[in-house]
């Protein structure tokens, strides 16, 4: 059926639309990344939770104040210090086996450059001395002699670390390309990992909603009678409750249940509202199709109603399913953001919604990296789907340009 579908005139018209094909390619890239994360361990949940550096580091090509640079250096330095010393009863005392601690020291793909505690301690002392010297200045941004000293300190501290592995340099660049969030986690990694969540949420909710919506819609339109009344009642009821309110209510229903921490509550909440769209459209289309002569011809041959529904009605609503699928996909991704803002979204791991709603507070501090990166990645996917939807509508449903 699908192979045949691709030979249809609509599909050919679609294939000729270059921007749409580019969008499709972009979507496939996103899907590939999501698959690579789900199946191939491209990124793990731990990667998104790892600290890669100081908090609120701007992205690769961002600039920052001297004060912030100093704070960042402070962070890097403290990590090394911590591997060498520990607090006990108010005292700072050297660790018993600092080699282990140095081996364990990681900041994302960075690791300690030197596992020799003696040499490291010596250099740490040197750095701390310079650090304390700089700390004396009240306003680092204002004093001109600060900069060379700070650069010197940065060099000293940078020497403590080296990127791990063959791809280390690239990994480090990628980690920092979008900056870091409040917890010092890589924004880029989190935003990329969020692709998985978005694709999962989008695919599952769109798929289930289409399935349920189409079946109900087709059954209602085709059989009529009490089935039709029931389906109409169901969707009138659900659509009369404001979407967001319904989502909130449903999300609340699930909190504390065994599904906590999974995406299932989100799937259910979305599907509860999303099936209405396709259901209405498919019902309308079915009402139209069932009067068509080929359906009557099938009746004349003697086929049962269910067979006709399955073989003659549903396949001919495929284009609407495609279009609705694409619409719902967008809807799911965008609703996830809102739900996350209300604290009801994804519970485990990052998502664009979580990133955007968290960034609301950073924006006011002039830190746009988190909102920017998350929005950019989300924008790419949603735009691609929007264009795809348009193209699908153009190709298959020329009436509704």
């Amino acid at each position: 059926m699908i192979a045949k579908f691709f030979q249809s005139r609509g599909a050919r018209r679609f294939r000729r639309n270059r921007i749409a094909m580019a969008s499709l390619a972009l979507i496939l890239i996103y899907v590939a990344i999501a698959l690579a994360i789900i199946v191939g361990d491209l990124l793990t949940l731990e990667d998104t939770m790892d600290r890669v550096g100081p908090a609120n580091l701007p992205g690769s090509w961002g600039s920052q104040t001297t004060e912030k640079r100093f704070e960042d250096i402070d962070y890097y330095l403290r990590q090394v210090e911590r591997a060498l010393y520990r607090r006990q009863a108010g005292q700072i005392i050297p660790r018993r086996n600092p080699e282990e601690a140095l081996k364990e020291l990681r900041l994302g793909s960075l690791q300690a450059a030197d596992h020799n505690p003696v040499a490291t301690r010596k250099r740490v002392d040197e750095a701390v001395a310079l650090f304390e010297e700089l700390e004396e200045y009240e306003d680092l941004d204002a004093e001109p002699e600060v900069l060379p000293k700070l650069e010197e300190l940065e060099r000293l501290v940078a020497a403590f670390y080296r990127p791990a592995g063959a791809m280390g340099g690239f990994s480090r660049w990628l980690e920092l390309s979008g900056g870091t969030d409040r917890q010092g986690r890589s924004i880029a990694i989190r935003a990329i990992y969020s692709i998985k969540v978005a694709i999962q949420v989008g695919l599952v909710t769109a798929f289930i909603s289409i399935l349920v919506g189409s079946l109900l819609g087709a059954a209602a339109g085709f059989y009529g009678g009490w089935i039709d009344h029931l389906v109409i009642w169901l969707y009138s009821t659900f659509s009369s409750i404001p979407n967001l309110v319904l989502l909130t209510l449903l999300a609340y229903m699930f909190t504390g249940s065994i599904f906590d921490g999974t995406l299932i509550p989100i799937y259910v909440a979305f599907c509860m509202t999303f099936w209405i769209g396709p259901c209405r459209v498919i019902r309308g289309e079915t009402l139209k199709l069932r009067e068509l002569e080929y359906v009557q011809a099938a009746t004349a041959i003697g086929f049962g109603k269910f067979y006709i529904l399955l073989r003659h009605i549903l396949p001919n609503t495929a284009h609407l399913m495609f279009i609705n699928f694409s619409l719902l996909f967008i809807g799911a991704i965008k609703s996830e953001v809102i739900l996350s803002f209300l604290g009801l979204g994804v519970k485990k791991g990052p998502s664009w919604g979580i990133m955007i709603s968290q960034s609301g507070q950073e924006v006011i501090n002039g830190f746009f990296w988190q909102i920017g990166t998350a929005t950019a990645l989300m924008f790419g996917l949603v735009l691609a789907f929007n264009i795809l939807t348009d193209a699908l509508q153009d190709a298959f449903d020329p009436k509704h340009v």
């Binding site: 009369s240 309110v245 209510l249 609340y252 965008k334 664009w352 919604g353 929005t375 924008f379 340009v401």
Partner: protein
């Protein structure tokens, strides 16, 4: 005609019952009483409260009790979260702020979107149309929340901080009566943001409507009569497009009340949406239920109103 309206009302009764049934059931999935009672609560207090609020009764009993309240228009139940306030009063107080925000937003959006949709349909297939469609798609691809966050930052804070223009309030709502000036100061920014957000969707919708109309034979007839482009657009097409336009606006109308939840939350505007979300968060039962009842009624009234408006705008539609 009146028989028709009455019949529609009767038809909508099951829907109405369904909405209330669903919301009431959803609210009871998790036990709401502990929230209300707070950190020093005891089982004894719990039982006492359950009894006082009627939550210990069988669900169906609660359902019919509530329905009877609704039928008697009795919204004198007090809020749990704000003891001492009757839910009816609470809802009434939230209506004006909601409408001050949403009616202008709907008006401006619809007006702009219809104009842009007309222009786009008129230039269908040419660069102008493609540009407008592309902008609409771009605009639709960014999350509402991003608009709000950046809109508030740049529209209010940045303007004031860097250009010294105190045009818009950062958040809040005038405590006294609403005047033109206070309205503009407090509500205009959220309105603008919601217009920008909604414009993409509405433009595309109205464009599709207009394109569909522009393909109709009567347009060719009008051109064959010698009608000019604008005449066709604003006279022939627009009047025919009134049905989908009315549908769109009327469908939006009941949702106006709750539609701007995010804006109201972010801008601290005490409208219905914010009230409702706060109530949901606080599991403020009486308020959520009353909201649902009123909203559903409004929904049904607008549905019927839509049909009546159809009959006015489209001579082909007869109510029977």
């Amino acid at each position: 005609m009146w028989a028709y309206i009455f019949r529609r009302l009767v038809y909508n009764v099951p829907v109405y019952l369904g909405i209330i049934l669903f919301v009431m059931a959803a609210l009871r999935v998790n036990d709401p009483i502990w929230t209300y009672l707070g950190k020093h609560a005891t089982q004894e207090q719990y039982d006492q409260f359950a009894k006082a609020s009627g939550l210990d009764k069988p669900f169906l009993r609660q359902y019919f009790d509530f329905l009877s309240d609704v039928v008697r228009l009795d919204f004198t139940v007090e809020s749990w979260d704000q003891p001492g306030i009757q839910v009816g009063k609470m809802i009434r107080a939230a209506i004006v702020p909601s409408l001050a925000l949403t009616i202008p937003a709907l008006g401006i959006t619809s007006f702009l979107a219809i104009c842009v949709g007309l222009i786009s349909a008129y230039f269908r297939g040419r660069w102008m149309d493609q540009l407008l469609v592309f902008i609409a798609v771009l605009g639709m691809s960014v999350s509402f929340l991003v608009y709000i966050i950046l809109g508030q930052y740049f529209g209010a804070f940045w303007l004031k901080q860097h250009l010294g223009m105190d045009l818009f309030a950062i958040s809040g709502y005038p405590s006294g009566g609403l005047t033109m000036a206070t309205w503009a100061y407090y509500c205009l920014l959220p309105i603008l943001i919601s217009v920008i957000v909604a414009l993409g969707y509405d433009t595309r919708y109205y464009r599709a409507v207009m394109v569909e109309e522009s393909n109709r034979d009567y347009i060719t007839t009008a051109r064959a009569k010698g009608a000019s482009g604008p005449k066709i657009l604003f006279v022939h097409m627009l009047k025919n497009a009134m049905i989908p336009i009315i549908t769109r606006i009327m469908i939006t109308l009941p949702f106006l009340i709750t539609g701007s939840i995010l804006l109201e939350m972010y801008f601290n505007i005490p409208g219905m949406g914010r009230r409702l979300i706060l109530a949901i968060n606080a599991k403020d039962f009486p308020v959520i239920q009353a909201f649902t009842a009123i909203f559903a009624a409004l929904f049904i009234v607008t549905n019927i109103l839509t049909d009546v408006l159809y009959a006015i705008f489209d001579p082909r539609v007869r109510l029977q």
